[in-house]
């Protein structure tokens, strides 16, 4: 029987990502990994990571924080690497040399997913490998010193798009990768946040129990890169959901469901003001920029609700 997703039962399970990793104090990535592996606690798991914070900090010299088989190859090819491992598993299973039902999960940062590893991810998903690819999105190349990535939000200050007299932080819009993956026509695509952990764990469990290629994008605050406090990772992920900056939804076989609808949609300013990377937006004369960010969020949220209305079957009530 599947382990129920409540903390009392889950706390009796082994956490397959140990302490002693060298991720920063207050980093949300280990919490996200913990949640993924707890949701998958009923299965043996093989994982892969691309180069990134999680990779360099979980595996230094002869020390590894992983208690499951885990492989790192390069920055650009976690999906290709894991699809190779999964293919070998399929072959060994066919030959009767292995009889376990193993789940394959890639856990990579936004740099290795949105940008550098994108061709590898897109290819592995198109080939239809039975694996789950999780992106922990902290919105920049944090490991190498906060360089902008395709996931960096508009007007965020990073070391390669520094806010100053010339530009007000990143001038471009961020890629909506979850949507890009949904358009691949995968059986399961979702967006989650550690602040809403039952929703996150349900999505991971649903994903690993769905055969074929799956993708989940998880919001992962980084206090070093976002210039915020070490204790606010969960609080910021909650704010991201409540302001609709990071809507929680899933796309299952073409049907979009918004899984968490905030009771009261908070203004984006609540999310921005808690982070030093948006500090410059609060200087006089820059009010328009915050309005612009709010406008993008409102439009995306409206579009998502419309998409749900269009795709959700009538019997589900179109709630």
């Amino acid at each position: 029987m599947a382990t129920p997703l409540n903390l009392k039962e889950l706390s009796k399970k082994e956490i397959r990502f140990t302490a002693g990793h060298r991720l920063c104090a207050g980093c949300a990535a280990p919490t996200v990994v913990k949640m993924i592996l707890l949701a998958a606690c009923d299965y043996p798991v093989i994982a892969a990571s691309s180069t990134g914070c999680l990779e360099v900090s979980s595996c230094i010299s002869t020390f590894t924080a992983w208690k499951i088989p885990w492989i790192h190859n390069a920055f650009e090819n976690a999906a290709a690497t894991l699809s190779g491992v999964q293919t070998m598993y399929k072959a060994l299973k066919k030959q009767g040399k292995i009889d376990k039902d193993i789940k394959f999960i890639a856990i990579c940062g936004d740099g290795g997913t949105y940008d550098i590893g994108f061709q590898s991810l897109s290819g592995a998903m198109e080939r239809g490998h039975d694996m789950l690819y999780v992106c922990y999105d902290n919105g920049a190349y944090m490991n190498t010193g906060i360089q902008r990535s395709g996931a960096t939000p508009t007007y965020a200050d990073t070391t390669t798009c520094p806010a100053g007299a010339v530009i007000p932080g990143k001038p471009q819009q961020r890629k909506d990768l979850t949507r890009i993956m949904a358009v691949h026509g995968l059986p399961y695509v979702a967006q989650a946040s550690p602040s809403h952990w039952p929703d996150l764990m349900k999505k991971v469990r649903k994903a690993i129990e769905t055969p074929g290629p799956k993708f989940i994008n998880i919001f992962t605050p980084c206090n070093r890169g976002w210039r915020s406090r070490t204790d606010d990772a969960i609080m910021l992920s909650r704010l991201a959901v409540e302001t609709c900056f990071w809507p929680l939804y899933e796309v299952e076989n073409g049907v979009t469901r918004v899984t968490v609808k905030p009771k009261e949609k908070k203004p984006i300013i609540d999310f921005l003001k808690a982070q030093g990377r948006f500090k410059h937006l609060f200087e006089p004369g820059r009010e328009k920029m915050i309005e612009q960010i709010q406008d993008i969020i409102d439009k995306n949220w409206e579009r998502l609700l419309k998409e749900e209305e269009m795709t959700l079957p009538k019997e589900e009530g179109n709630k």
């Binding site: 903390l7 009392k8 039962e9 889950l10 706390s11 009796k12 956490i15 990502f17 140990t18 302490a19 002693g20 990793h21 060298r22 991720l23 920063c24 104090a25 207050g26 980093c27 949300a28 990535a29 280990p30 919490t31 913990k34 949640m35 979980s58 595996c59 230094i60 002869t62 020390f63 590894t64 924080a65 992983w66 208690k67 499951i68 550690p194 952990w197 406090r229 070490t230 204790d231 606010d232 990772a233 969960i234 609080m235």
Partner: protein
């Protein structure tokens, strides 16, 4: 020249969870958490949110912190719902 079968495998770690030998508790700089048992409702959110698995739980019940690994980030204290507004985890000045 050596064939690929002769080349010894590199960068393979055969001991799962060997990172436990690295006591990251020494990173704690200014603050450390204190657990106030009488205010604890055993929601276990601190156990779940802790990035460093430093909240010990036995048979579904919370125990004290594991200061060998706690980096003192304070997420547990911020997220603790406490009992009737009284937090069960507070951050205090680190004593070395």
């Amino acid at each position: 020249m050596m064939g690929w079968k002769e080349i010894p495998p590199g960068m393979v770690i055969l001991e799962p969870g060997s990172a436990l030998k690295v006591k990251t508790g020494s990173w704690r700089a200014a603050y450390r958490p204190r657990w106030i048992e009488e205010n604890c409702i055993q929601c276990l959110l601190c156990w779940l949110y802790c990035p460093d698995n430093s909240v010990k739980v036995k048979d579904g019940k919370r125990e004290d912190f594991d200061f060998d690994y706690c980096k003192g980030c304070g997420i547990c204290a911020l997220e603790c719902p406490g009992k009737k507004g009284n937090k069960a985890i507070v951050m205090e000045e680190e004593v070395k």
